[in-house]
Symmetry: C2
Subunit: 347 residues, 2 copies
């Protein structure tokens, strides 16, 4: 597998004995299998093996593109790793596991695989883009369900439950993250996960959701008003829409994520709402909902063909409410292609 060969090349270049990968997204990325209760992908200079608990063996063997071996006790994993001195791991590895590796396997030095994995995963293959496109189609169905379900008197949580049910019935394994249905004053909370609040007439309602499908994610946000929007609601909606459209049009190979964030931020600032756009423009998306590149003032990644990012400006006015409009897009040589396609002119 070319992905594993890249890791092997990295080990060689840096004089590292072995790579140990344990997070679910990376286990799936490198082997095709992500055992529910854990697995240990070991890549050394000659061979690679996925070690899994007995309980997961049958399923892992079926899914994995590389050899699988089972263990009865985690001590067998520590034993297996005794032959190595320097190990490259993911930065997400827990302190307690790294402590056990030091004590039980005699690992002397830890290096990090994050940079090389980031470089690999950040550029999606055609196959990955196809799966994300399917996940985005499910998110479109989800957001359309939300638009239909939102109505006076209904609880936010009921809308979210219906959204997730329909996405699953249409093929999603689950929601990519807790569905946000934030109405009225709650729409000013960027992370207003659906609550028991009842939706009332005149509410701005921010609906932010996604589907998890074949290990990949999608992410979309739309905002509507229950009934007729008032002047101020309409005003901030138009500003966010302009910023979002302009950013989508500007996202193409060669521009940096910081520049892209600035394009949307400058528009919102010109209208006087710069201090109400309190998060970054977006984020990379794939096996995780939030991955590289960050699309923010603190990231200067140059966009390349095959990157998948979200573009999601927003304006949040405490107590009054908020508006966010978000699409998942893939960067092609001709610019950004929207993978979530629900209409954006909703207010």
């Amino acid at each position: 597998m070319i992905r594993i060969e890249k890791i092997r090349g990295y080990l060689k270049e840096n004089g590292i004995d072995v790579a140990l990968i344990t997070s679910a997204p990376n286990l799936f990325y490198f082997t095709g299998s992500a055992p529910l209760i854990g697995g240990y992908l070991v890549i050394d200079s000659d061979e690679e093996v996925l070690l899994v608990p007995e309980l997961e063996y049958e399923q892992a063997k079926e899914e994995s593109k590389i050899p699988v071996e089972k263990f009865k006790k985690i001590d067998e994993v520590y034993e297996y790793l005794k032959r190595f001195n320097t190990v490259a791991v993911e930065g997400s590895m827990s302190l307690s596991f790294s402590k056990a590796l030091k004590e039980k396997s005699g690992i002397k030095e830890f290096k990090f695989l994050d940079e090389i994995i980031k470089e690999l995963r950040m550029i999606k293959t055609e196959e990955e883009i196809r799966v994300i496109e399917d996940a985005c189609r499910l998110a479109d169905i989800g957001v359309m369900t939300a638009i239909e379900e939102v109505s006076e008197g209904k609880r936010e949580k009921e809308v979210a439950a219906k959204v997730e049910y329909i996405m699953k019935m249409e093929g999603a394994e689950k929601a990519a993250f807790d569905t946000i249905i934030a109405s009225g004053y709650r729409s000013a909370l960027p992370h207003g996960t659906a609550s028991d609040k009842r939706i009332t007439k005149g509410d701005l309602v921010v609906m932010d959701l996604g589907a998890f499908y074949r290990h990949y994610n999608s992410d979309i946000t739309r905002t509507i008003v229950v009934g007729s929007p008032n002047g101020k609601q309409k005003e901030i909606y138009e500003i966010v829409l302009e910023a979002q459209k302009k950013a989508v049009e500007s996202a193409k190979p060669g521009i940096t994520t910081k520049e892209l964030d600035s394009i949307a931020r400058d528009i919102i600032s010109e209208y006087g709402y710069g201090d109400k756009f309190i998060h970054s423009l977006g984020h990379g998306l794939g096996l995780q909902v939030h991955e590289w590149p960050r699309v923010s003032q603190h990231d200067e990644t140059v966009l390349k063909e095959g990157m998948v990012i979200t573009i999601e400006p927003g304006i949040y006015i405490p107590k009054f409410g908020g508006v966010r409009i978000e699409d998942t897009v893939v960067i092609t040589k001709n610019g950004a292609k929207r993978l979530t396609k629900t209409e954006r002119e909703l207010i």
Copy 2:
């Protein structure tokens, strides 16, 4: 708060400058708030504060029982921690974050809070038990929904989608974990998350699910047959049921988790299926689906009043199918009280 005072006492006894807590369950446990995109609970010898990103400030301030301060950049957190040398953290902290703390805050030594947190969280308060009881009531509704929905020709995923929808409509925030609906040969996979497989007549169907409600979890498993069970299905069902009932009756203060596991395991072994019971008897449950104590051959915790555990023996015969019966129980001075109450005589 008494919980925070316990941590402070632990710091004092061990000569540690400060405790830093960052995992969602523990943030909630110690402050009443678990900010979605992260938070940093800092407890030193005199005071405690929850540091949260600006985005989470309003919500955290509303929820937290201790003082909350906001930061714009994570660097402010590193800066704040510069005054300390030894820090006690959770073993789940990532290697990359601990590296940043060393480099940017000059932290010299890391100690672990896991033991003291385990001792605290393992014994549930009456208030916690009431919430878990509510979560278990939702799990009962979920499993009853599954029993109604399972039928010839339906896909496992459709059943799971309906289960999760109904639990949410009844008040659950979400499923505690990916709902397992494992039918036919898939019922022999202890972690057979609902798939696209269609349920057929004669299938054993293992239904393992739970609700997440007010930060707490529940967990229940029932097994049924579509149509009439055959002799062997009935045989293994009866054995698992006997083992489960005996273990529930035996769970009381004073017995160890290993002894409890053995009571169920011995029954299954006597009938000749010992090698088909391929996991441990159960696990502690609370803010996390799997917590302390482990109820297994590798754990000798003495059961105490206020512990909440699952009791879930199973028999898994590759290609033929499997049976698992599970309840969540709380240990009282008079023995185990089942918090999940769905009937167990289903085959």
